[in-house]
Symmetry: C2
Subunit: 449 residues, 2 copies
Amino acid sequence: MKTPDSSYPHIVIVGAGFGGLRAARALANAPVRVTLIDRRNYHLFQPLLYQVASAGLSPEDIAYPLRSIFRHQHNLNFVMAEVQQIDLENSRVLTTRGGAIPYDYLILAAGSVTNTFGMPNLNRYAFGLKDLDDALAIRSHVLNQFELATQTADPAQRQAMLTFVVVGGGPTGVECAGALAELIRLVLRKDYPDLDLRQARVVLLEATDRLVSNLPPDLGQAAQRALAQKGVEVWLKAQVQDYDGQRVYLNDGRILPAQTLIWAAGVQAAELAQTLPLALGSQKRVHVLPTLQAPGYPHVFIIGDAAYLEDEHGQPLPMMAPVAMQQGEHAAHNILHALRGEPLQPFRYRNLGSMATIGRNQAVATLFGLHLTGFIAWVIWLFVHLMQLVGFRNRLVVFINWAWEYFRFERAARLIYPMPQVHSAPSTTITPPDEKEPAAVIATIYNPN
Amino acid sequence: MKTPDSSYPHIVIVGAGFGGLRAARALANAPVRVTLIDRRNYHLFQPLLYQVASAGLSPEDIAYPLRSIFRHQHNLNFVMAEVQQIDLENSRVLTTRGGAIPYDYLILAAGSVTNTFGMPNLNRYAFGLKDLDDALAIRSHVLNQFELATQTADPAQRQAMLTFVVVGGGPTGVECAGALAELIRLVLRKDYPDLDLRQARVVLLEATDRLVSNLPPDLGQAAQRALAQKGVEVWLKAQVQDYDGQRVYLNDGRILPAQTLIWAAGVQAAELAQTLPLALGSQKRVHVLPTLQAPGYPHVFIIGDAAYLEDEHGQPLPMMAPVAMQQGEHAAHNILHALRGEPLQPFRYRNLGSMATIGRNQAVATLFGLHLTGFIAWVIWLFVHLMQLVGFRNRLVVFINWAWEYFRFERAARLIYPMPQVHSAPSTTITPPDEKEPAAVIATIYNPN
């Protein structure tokens, strides 16, 4: 039984991404009660999401149930619920189905969502790549285009079906474009012997004049060469103006017929953070103090993609997993400092390096100041990601899938997913437990749809 | 390139289940052109579907892309499309997106669908277990009930959330109930230390007075004992009258509050077979001649769950994979006989045995006339199913998942799946290729929704 002392202070963590997870773990042996809230029952290893989209891995390979992760952390309670609002004045979190949850300290790790910069057609026709449902939708759509291409005799139409546009030259866009190009050239080529796959194009559009701008320029150039070798067309200074599901319209007047557009060109802080009565920085991230506290609310810490903080050169900290993880740990430690009456510490980001992979054998990375490219960077990428995957079984199965792909030029997960039926169970009214309970959950209407 | 001689006769196979798959393979080296049509791009290993539902396996573990399976069969073309109608008079198959496909010979292997015997509430509130989307919906729903149960203080409501009713004491119902009971007692018990899981019930309802009636009575009793040991309540002579999503109403007046009902009590032939202008037998299966031909249409063969044929004792052949597989091969051979001007052969079912598993360590089986129970039956069950799974990688990954479960009392796939977004690409008009093409595909409007 999990029986944390109910006199202990109650720390609520919203979001079980990299930041929230690390914060929760950092509080494992402290004299506190922790409630972790997420709308999913799993932690998603987002860096490998593009591999689910490109049919290399299953959702189960990169997602791990939160209750397993925290099985042995006895001071933590997990609540699966969507957070609707943070009530800063009354120190409580309002959820859709868990009711109102009061906190003594809050760590808001709500993450980020796809930002289409107010272009409604992109919301309608483009695919994002932030969660498992996005990845499965891309996978099914891409494979479906190949099936459709075998069923049309119009060459222009077939060309549009077989043109896959990825927008955004950051790590996600580069990895996604590389993986799609390999899926086509190495795997689907064998599946569709009657299709002329020289028609199939993967086009990576980047608005600026360089790729992976979070890495040094020479690595951006290396990434561009590696992508070209894999058959990806890289268009720099190509800014998307509109997309109608059939044609991509660029600012310079160019039109690219394509039935698939994957939008990896921008993210912004989750709405939950945006709507707080606090000043926002770029990408609608909430300005936080160097201690990661919300200005005016010393009991509220905001971390990761949802938080805006600058480094010592005045640059905003990037929206990346390592920043979120370090901040999660830092926020947890600062709360423990506060509880002990000690002064809080300002956050400093330790940049250990960044990397992006470009499919089989190719990656670019900075590590402890070194610039790495090619096979050696790829092996390091593989090792780092495999070691970080939660759970032994996931690591082993992912490794087998990768080895299988590598030696057989195969993709294990080439399924066009059926849409799960929405189950229309009638709505249920949940009767609340006593509000004094550790994970106090107050009356609410639960509607499973 | 796949270039079958276009003067060869054209055999169309509808459905890539066990029967259709076996028929297609039996035609591999014959002087014919084969078109295989399925609405999915994968073959589903249905006997393990309940393991996806009970969070033991991923969809990718039990589904294998059809284009991989037939990569080396050069006389076969795959068309992913839904068949709307069989036009027997004009010898053609009408599909939703592939247009009209003419045939010289047809093998209809359309399979079966869940039969709720005209109870509309069951269609609405109960889960079927026939395809991947059913299995994923059950998995997400069951895990969600546990999350909800942690969030309510009303004991009666919590009891209904934690009561899982499986209807139908055939192999599917028995396997599903056993797997759910183990999921709860061995795995979820550790995930929900604050829930009193003695409250959690798995109830198996069977309308007749015995389980697995396709097996001898002593094995039915063995199955019942094994289920009881796993904590499943078996209610015999319990016939469901209605279900409103909250309460199961039995014919004898009993009412069982339960928020989950899995309907494994009946199947009937797929609508495509039912709607043919032909006489139907029980479960709306189409009466076929002993040669498996449709009466009056000697070029049309109907096999598997869609076909009604009696054995030498006047008993209808069961709706099971082994029957479908043997009939698939038989139909293919009869077509080759017909093409060579030889007499067609009547079908005779070779019953090699049947089996059902009841979770960890327990199964019942008949094999070459022997009655087997317990651990030895389970090992045989494991071996037979693993050997039949298509593809080396699937076998290996499934084996690892099973071994992991077995030694760690874990379930690898405990994810509550997000619903994939329906992608609203605009509808596309497909321009048809020449009708003379091997897999002739005629103009149609494709609407991806």
